[in-house]
Symmetry: C2
Subunit: 248 residues, 2 copies
Amino acid sequence: MTKAITASRLVGILGGMGPAATADFYTKLIELTPATTDQEHLRVVIWADPTVPSRQDALLSGGTDPTPWLNAGADQLQRCGADILVVPCNTVHGYLPAVMNEREVEFISIIETTIAAIPATGTGEPIGLLATDGALASGIYQDALTAAGYQVALPSPEQQQTLMRLVHEVKAGLEGSALRTDLAVVTDSLRTQGVRVAIAGCTELSTLLDGQADTNGLQVIDPAVELARETVSRAQAQTTTRNEGPTR
Amino acid sequence: MTKAITASRLVGILGGMGPAATADFYTKLIELTPATTDQEHLRVVIWADPTVPSRQDALLSGGTDPTPWLNAGADQLQRCGADILVVPCNTVHGYLPAVMNEREVEFISIIETTIAAIPATGTGEPIGLLATDGALASGIYQDALTAAGYQVALPSPEQQQTLMRLVHEVKAGLEGSALRTDLAVVTDSLRTQGVRVAIAGCTELSTLLDGQADTNGLQVIDPAVELARETVSRAQAQTTTRNEGPTR
């Protein structure tokens, strides 16, 4: 029996940074795919090696460069036939140009996708940025926001400490309403700086958001949601129809 | 800078059947891993091709044999270096002996792991079995339960229809309390047959359980939890310590 099956392009997820953020991203990818049967969902391969050295240590205190692990993972995903590569970790994006630029594969940047998702307000308020100490030190989001013409507002040093505690707590397996409440305090603190749109620029924070949050007049953009939405769009942009057998 | 990193054996997850069940299994695997940092988590590779032909159609109405897709996925995972293969889909296990037996890789059966997790009651009540029509037709769970000396109790035909509706609703992206309530009605109906322990033998049903449920004196075993627990145990049983660079 042969039956035409329309298959999406193969999405390669370079994950494990951390594992919970990867599982959260994959869940969002599934939820954002218009499908009523298994067969309508995206074909996905995930390489999740959480032993990639700490990006915080590498960016802030001369720790081991994670680049060899990133190249090894990208190699695995390309060997599997991935047509598109995505990395559901904001902080590591500082290392990705060197990893992705030489590869003949489509790469979707979580940073670029998030910047493109900022709504036009036209009133010039600064964009709030919640990111890890390491990501802030690398400047990846600030540079992209500045290049796009935005001012940037950061949490106070005290709130930044709270943010880093939340990131480590999610990596340690904690979850629940207490963490969400603490995150709300951090985002709320940005409003005193005139912020109306903030970026939750760390996929551990994404696990604490329920999609795009809009509370008390502050809109929080979830980069994991934006990356998932763009990934679905591009994976379905080209499909292959085949009569029998699995795509290799 | 070199730093000794202890890495788990590489876990290969043959998933996509369905996608939400795979994301749920990966989340459970992470939650059941004793870890406080990313680097202590398991190394995982996931092949999730949801275009595997419907197992229900294959088992019940002469639909396309999914075996070539399963072999292709297992090949991919082995090429990535997987030391252990697991498949978070109960129904497809009827096809797995032919796929796994010739491979030089450790395979953990969700069926065997679940049977081993049945608590000793010593009072001879039948074990309740919630499984898809296809899984029931293949007899995978009934045969294993019988071989282990258990009687089997199934839902009424009406409750079995509710169960199949729930499975398709999860595959279509539905979730929430209404589905959980309907599942509770199905499990409760087993109690009238004297059941005190039931198996939620479909990973779509697993997404509706919060770990092992024990309500009104009926204990529901979640095979996805049992498989995740056994996978963590076996992946951590042997680890490799290396001084620098990623494991290939």
